[in-house]
């Protein structure tokens, strides 16, 4: 078994072109998901019957079912539904051409990230002692302010390693967007491999790219974690 080194070399640079798609999808999903997820986490802590129940159902459905299947529902059904609506309303708008599949990908991955992040945030919030909230309230801060200034900074220390898990998983997981014709790092590798069945080479290339990408991200997260945890790493 010999590796086709020329192919690997060429493909490697082709694959690099997919990084922007991969990163855009990852970052957009995280940014869109974070505030909603945080709100959901707070709702669940509040344990208010209806909203907290709704959040639980959402989380269990979205994180409990394979993304592939969600994509199937969203990508193959949603445009059809939209189209029917647009048609019956008689609006002159071509749903199929006007909406870039990238948009559907962002929606799918954001929905998933919301579910995962809401659990990350919930766990981080659980770790904060209630005295912190009370102290903030007692000096006249609003609940929102206490969260911003006191609770979130402390919770982030607990959350960051888990957000890092989610981020690297997203980087790899966004390759499912290829189901919607969105070409990320892995998709480009697969396309390149398909002509001559150079799958081994392509996968090695993709692996390298992921190593570079994920290492940078992990280093950033680790640095951030050690920076924001200075306040507690006193006794070692």
């Amino acid at each position: 078994m010999d590796l086709d080194l020329d192919f690997m070399y060429e493909t490697f640079f082709k694959i690099l072109g997919g990084i922007s798609t991969t990163l855009e999808l990852t970052i957009l999903s995280l940014l869109l998901a974070a505030p909603i997820a945080f709100y959901m986490a707070v709702l669940r802590l509040n344990d208010a019957k209806i909203s907290s129940g709704a959040v639980r159902v959402y989380v269990s459905f979205v994180r409990g079912t394979p993304i592939i299947l969600q994509i199937l529902l969203l990508y193959s059904l949603l445009p059809s539904v939209l189209n029917t609506i647009v048609q019956t309303l008689g609006i002159n708008f071509n749903v199929f051409d006007a909406i870039d599949p990238f948009f559907y990908a962002v929606v799918v991955f954001s929905l998933n990230t919301i579910a995962l992040l809401s659990e990350v945030f919930r766990s981080a919030l659980i770790s904060i002692s209630k005295g912190q909230l009370e102290a903030g309230l007692s000096i006249g801060l609003t609940r929102f302010q206490v969260y911003i200034h006191v609770i979130i900074p402390q919770a982030m220390v607990v959350a960051l390693p888990n957000i890092c898990n989610i981020t690297v998983n997203l980087i790899k997981g966004t390759s499912l967007a290829f189901l919607m014709t969105v070409k990320d790092v892995l998709a480009i590798g697969k396309i390149a491999a398909s002509f001559g069945y150079n799958y081994i080479e392509a996968y090695i290339d993709v692996f390298f790219v992921y190593i570079i990408l994920c290492t940078i991200i992990q280093v950033l997260y680790t640095a951030a974690e050690s920076k924001i945890s200075t306040f507690r790493a006193m006794h070692v």
Binding site: M1, D4, L72, S76, P79, S80, N83, F96, L176, F178, L179, M180, T181, K183, A187, K190, I191, A193, S194, F195, G196, Y197, N198, Y199, I200
Partner: protein, 266 residues
């Protein structure tokens, strides 16, 4: 390197050399796993006949995914792999293709009835819009369309790669106008639309089919298995001469596919 020593060791023991045949597991009716969990399908059945002709080997059938099949045959984990593969020059660098094809598939375009007067063949489809349902790049159809595009630089079809999608969407997408054509194996079209029990039979009036061509399919052999590939070729020639293959084609397809294959492709 190491697998080789292992095999020779087995050979000197006097035990039969094991031929591992990997086949894809849901390419009905070519290769699949049937209700009883056994390897089944036309190509598998042919390989089983080949096995009877080559009693010096012990055959083992392994259903697996496309990815694993390709990597496994390349690395030597599997001796042969079959999944309705079409021959391309690039692939011949990685694997041994035998001289004799094993089966064939006929492909063409599924289009909406209302476009049938404008779309008559690939060229007119390209002229009409060229909006084709995306194809997975590892699917041989992708290569076929690509080849078409190469030979018709002025009448290109919009070939979009994507991960495999299930047929039911593709038909719907064509009917609702999301795409204008779907590249499909004729047999599937027949079963889904023309067959009275097919799940898309109700839409038989909405779509029609344009045959493009029949293409021979081959099993793949590991680069070190030239000897076995030759023995396979001999076996296939005998089986074809005996009419065994035609019999199996009838069993699995209800007709002989070989007729569709143009002489240039044989």
């Amino acid at each position: 390197g190491k697998s080789e020593t292992k095999e020779t060791a087995a050979g000197t023991d006097g035990a039969k050399k094991v031929i591992t045949v990997a086949h894809t597991n849901y390419y009905v009716p070519y290769d699949y796993v049937n209700d009883k969990g056994e390897s089944d399908g036309f190509e598998v059945a042919v390989m089983k006949e080949v096995a009877k002709k080559l009693p010096q080997y012990e055959f083992k059938f392994v259903p697996t995914s496309d990815d694993d099949l390709l990597i496994g045959v390349e690395s030597g984990k599997y001796t042969v792999g079959t999944k309705g593969i079409w021959k391309t020059p690039a692939r011949e660098k990685k694997y041994i293709f035998p001289k004799n094809y094993i089966g064939a598939s006929v492909i063409g375009l599924v289009i909406r009835k209302d476009t049938a007067d404008k779309i008559k063949d690939m060229e007119s489809f390209a002229a009409y819009s060229g909006k084709l349902v995306p194809i997975a790049p590892q699917n041989a159809q992708y290569a076929v369309v690509e080849e078409y595009n190469k030979s018709h630089p002025d009448k290109q079809i919009k070939l979009v790669p994507s991960e495999a999608f299930k047929v039911s969407d593709a038909y719907t997408w064509v009917m609702e106008g999301r795409y204008d054509a779907y590249f499909e194996v004729e047999l599937n079209y027949k079963n889904n639309v023309l067959n009275k029990n097919g799940s898309y039979h109700q839409f038989a009036d909405n779509v029609s089919y344009i045959r493009y061509k029949g293409i021979p399919t081959y099993p793949l052999f590991n680069k070190k298995e030239q000897k076995f590939a030759d023995e396979y070729d001999k076996a296939i020639e005998e089986l074809r001469a005996e009419g065994k293959i035609a019999e199996l084609e009838n069993k699995y397809f209800g007709e002989s596919l070989s007729n569709y294959i143009g002489d240039s492709d044989k």
